[in-house]
């Protein structure tokens, strides 16, 4: 069966939301698509994936797949892709997809379109668009091999909603590990401690720059609480140790596209803007009226953040 194979991203047997963006991509490509759920407990995730209109859900479930490694997962993904004769293998461009997809592409001798934000289908031809140059150019590319491997930017492909129905589920055997798998040992995952919404999924993000210094938490947390927001930070704030590294928004950190992004004391370095300029509304609070962030902000407030942010918290509470 030709068509698209969507690789689901699972976490402890649950389907991650990034998967739904990859399903949306498959629907835009058109034609039939299948979903591959791979990992320990993948069989349990199949029911959740069966309601999206896929021609089938394939599961590869083995205890040795309890923790993701590219060396352990890529052989089975490639084997399922080959067995089904799929034209396109798609995954969300999360840390999982970005690590896995190029290895799968090399295994399939397939061209790879990384981190795309658009797909254009013209007859049997597909072209992919992707942000490059820190988001300052959008390049169109074509894959010249019969099979295409694609990772899709989650912020640009809205999550697919279940469409009902029940796709048939079949299981496939786990392929033999790469020899390299014996040379990778999973030790542990250390999660950043946060009660807040995930940066990548929050409706509102409040981000702080280096100028907040040691008062990063004191200043930003009340504002994030008032807005129900996730907290982000500029690279400068993370590098200086004022904010933990997992909060970094920008080219080397997270790419976010919330409804509202509030940049507090952030000057607007190119590499930061690359990670947040897809936000629907941008608010900038900065005492420097010439800060580049004001060139992209919908609403700019030139003010001392240490005064303006507490005032804003008060005003938000008063108007709630």
């Amino acid at each position: 069966m030709a068509g698209t194979l969507v690789i689901a991203e699972l976490s402890e047997g649950k389907v991650k939301k990034s998967t739904h963006s990859a399903i949306t991509f498959a629907k835009q490509v058109g034609g039939p698509f299948a979903i591959l759920a791979i990992g320990a407990g993948a069989a349990g995730a199949a029911a959740e994936l069966a309601g999206f209109g896929a021609a089938k859900v394939v599961t590869v479930d083995a205890p040795s797949l309890a923790h993701y490694t590219a060396e352990g997962f890529a052989p089975s993904v490639a084997a399922v892709a080959k067995a089904g004769g799929y034209d396109v293998v798609a995954v969300a461009a999360s840390s999982f997809g970005k690590d896995l997809a190029p290895r799968v592409a090399a295994k399939l001798s397939a061209g790879y379109a990384p981190d795309i934000d658009r797909v254009k289908v013209d007859g049997g031809k597909r072209a992919y668009r992707r942000p490059q140059y820190a988001g300052n150019a959008l390049g169109w590319l074509e894959v010249t091999t019969p099979v295409h491997v694609v990772s899709v930017r989650q912020t640009e492909f809205a999550a697919a909603e279940p469409s009902g129905g029940a796709s048939p589920v079949e299981s496939a055997a786990k392929a033999a590990d790469d020899a390299a798998a014996a040379r990778v040992e999973f030790l542990k995952v250390e999660a950043g401690k946060s009660e807040r919404p995930d940066l990548g999924e929050a409706r509102v993000v409040v981000s702080g720059g280096r100028s907040i210094k040691e008062q990063f938490k004191q200043v930003l947390e009340p504002l994030a609480d008032a807005l129900g927001a996730a907290i982000g930070a500029s690279r400068a704030a993370c590098d200086a140790g004022y904010a933990p590294p997992e909060l970094q928004v920008g080219q080397t950190g997270r790419t976010v596209a919330p409804q509202l992004y509030v940049a507090v004391g952030i000057s607007g370095a190119i590499q930061h803007i690359a990670g947040m300029k897809g936000s629907k509304y941008i608010v900038a609070i900065n005492k420097d009226p010439d800060a580049p962030i004001f060139q992209i902000a919908d609403y700019g407030l030139v003010a001392d953040l240490f005064v303006a942010v507490p005032d804003l918290v008060k005003a938000l509470k008063a108007s709630a």
């Binding site: 970005k98 090399a106 010249t144 999973f186 509102v204 997992e246 080397t252 941008i282 060139q295």
Partner: protein, 275 residues
């Protein structure tokens, strides 16, 4: 330990908002100073830290070889890296339009087969194309383990590394047995991110990458810099992806300046309707 560091020359990453589109719809970086992609500078710094005792960074306790795919002009970048501490450099003669990530990975595999390093280090992505793919593809072609987007490395003896990969909101720790391919993030150059087996666990480096001393730059002129031909490394130079035209993203127009917090809250409520 012998480390191969793959590097790429790019247009000044801090000024990429100044790129233009040519009449043919191609990205034009004229006027932007060519530099090493910053993550590749971090990869070199990582290689140096792994092959020294942090308390005596003048003595190289291993070998660091830098390799790039690029035109003759890219040798200036390699010379600078030799000045910074790399022992040797290799330039594979090629221009960007004749390359894609897959071809670079296949070419690098041939270089690895010749050089037999214990570790290949790369920036997690290069600053222009941002494709984040060469390390993973190289690892597959070599049959080696990969660790991508790594923010911390500790060596365990001569054959193992414990690495911390940055994943969404968390870090994943892996122990990899060498030889392996590792791609690094910017935080790898924080003071305590890299510990070689020679360096005391308490050692803290200055934040960021080191700069070449004048003496070292002079000495680097005598360090070997070899040129290889792409076709000798990868007999099949067909590209698996081809870039067509580019577009400029829609410009975000500057919005309005509000006079105070009250006006801001009002606009967010009544105009943007986001709160």
């Amino acid at each position: 330990m012998k480390i191969l560091v793959a590097v790429k020359r790019v247009a000044d990453p801090d000024n990429l908002n100044k790129i233009k589109l040519s009449a043919q719809g191609k990205v034009d970086t004229t006027g932007l100073e060519p530099k090493a992609s910053p993550y590749d500078d971090y990869a070199l710094e990582t290689a140096l830290r792994l092959t020294e005792n942090g308390a005596n960074t003048k003595a190289r306790l291993g070998e660091v070889v830098v390799v790039t795919f690029g035109p003759k002009e890219a040798e200036q970048m390699l010379r600078a890296m030799l000045g910074t501490g790399a022992d040797r450099a290799i330039r594979v003669d090629a221009t960007d339009d004749a390359l894609d990530g897959d071809l670079v990975a296949r070419g690098l595999k041939a270089v690895v087969d010749k050089e037999k390093p214990d570790l290949v280090l790369l920036g997690y992505q290069q600053a222009e194309n941002e494709s984040n793919e060469v390390g993973q593809m190289l690892a597959e072609y070599l049959g080696w383990p990969q660790a991508t987007s790594v923010g911390a490395i500790t060596s365990e003896g001569d054959t193992k590394l414990v690495v911390a990969r940055e994943i969404e909101g968390a870090t994943a720790q892996l122990r990899v047995t060498l030889p392996a391919v590792v791609t690094v993030l910017d935080k790898i150059v924080h003071p305590k991110s890299v510990h070689s087996k020679h360096t005391a666990p308490t050692h803290a480096y200055p934040d960021g990458v080191r700069f070449a001393a004048l003496m070292a730059i002079m000495a680097a002129k005598k360090k070997p810099l070899a040129e290889l031909k792409l076709a000798e490394l990868a007999p099949d130079v067909a590209l698996k992806v081809k870039y067509g035209n580019s577009e400029l993203p829609p410009k975000r127009a500057a919005g309005v300046k509000v006079k105070d917090v009250g006006e801001l809250v009002n606009k967010l409520k009544t105009e943007a309707k986001v709160i």
